[in-house]
Subunit: 222 residues, 2 copies
């Protein structure tokens, strides 16, 4: 299995590449500049000696083409629309996993949602219904992903309008050793994406006994 991670040279993308590679999944790491992706891929592979999965660097379009089905969009929100526009014609038969959070410019403690309501909904509207968009992995911090000596240890909320696509994404994410939950249609991305700035707020406050918080679904009988 080979997945693409676009914007894969950012901290979130690198952390995901490391985690998936260690789980035995090949990664086509995409960047605007192929050379930068190649350099970073080399470094990541060195960190993971003995991993069953291999990380290879590409420009974003070539990364999509190198993947067999799953394409993770991990660019900053400012590049969300332009990246989607650049790859929409080559996404046929793929699933777009959108992990982008529309953080407010200059204030990571707030969202500034697009007119569609959320990044996931904006992506689905831009790509059209024939390309399933699944929102996921918004609430896992890059630091957590990159701390390979620790389990991720928080849950992943997965939303989107296409149930088979969501189930495939849940199966993929579960390979990272985390619980992934189907929390409903794409409209729920308005909530899921907005959890991230609340976590960022907690992390930068002095009121919590931890940093890099995520969330967990929890119950008295769990």
């Amino acid at each position: 299995m080979k997945i693409a991670i676009l914007g894969g040279t950012g901290p979130q993308g690198q952390g995901l590449a490391l985690r998936f590679s260690r789980a035995g999944i090949d990664v086509a790491l995409g960047s605007r500049e192929a050379g930068r992706a190649e350099d970073i891929a080399t470094g990541l592979n060195q960190k993971l000696e003995g991993a069953k999965g291999h990380i290879e660097g590409f420009d974003n379009l070539s990364a999509v083409e190198a993947s067999d089905e799953m394409v993770i969009l991990a660019v900053p929100y400012s590049a969300h629309e332009s990246t989607l526009n650049s790859i929409r014609d080559i996404l046929t038969d793929k699933v777009l996993i959108d992990i982008v959070v529309p953080l407010k410019d200059g204030d990571p403690k707030a969202v500034d949602m697009p007119k569609e309501g959320s990044a996931t909904e904006a992506a689905q509207a831009l790509l059209g219904d024939h390309i399933p968009v699944v929102g996921a992995l918004h609430n896992v911090s890059a630091t957590t992903l990159n701390s390979l000596n620790k389990a991720i240890n928080c849950d992943v909320l997965v939303c989107g309008n296409d149930l088979p696509a969501k189930n495939k994404v849940i199966e993929l994410i579960t390979q990272l050793g985390v619980q992934a939950y189907n929390v409903g249609p794409a409209v729920n991305a308005r909530c899921v994406e907005a959890i991230t700035p609340m976590l960022i707020r907690l992390n930068i406050s002095k009121k919590v006994p931890f940093s890099h918080a995520g969330i967990k679904i929890w119950a008295p009988d769990s």
Copy 2:
């Protein structure tokens, strides 16, 4: 200390009354019908023999008047606006704790937010800035609250525009033995309230090993 719980005869209100009473806090239990509130208060006190707090039944307006500062609004969303209108003139110097979730009519797996964005924001707009509104306790199930043999065991996200009021509410809720977190201004209620239907969705699905889920802020180092 005596708090009011409006709509206190519903399952959420009863569970909160039991929990606060057991924590040594007196409760003015409000209902549209004083007689019904009185009957239910009697039953709740019997369940809690030896509790330091006492529960007394009132009509909603009298419950507000009997409270010293904190007024919890626990009515169904359909009664949210009318209840607020009926008490707005007697809320001076009180804090309104809004726990109402605008669940979609006929579908508890979705929200149907008011034009203000969330119930908390609608309440704040209706009451005016001189009455602080704090959103809290949306994500704790009534079953959990009423299961007195179990700890609540999930976290409470608290939001609102008035920091001193939020801190008072956090102090109050902490007495139930839960972690309560300030997650930002009232606008974040759009997210916090919308978590509830996602939890309801998980609870009614067959895909999770539990019922009555809540959420927890969680981190690798927690």
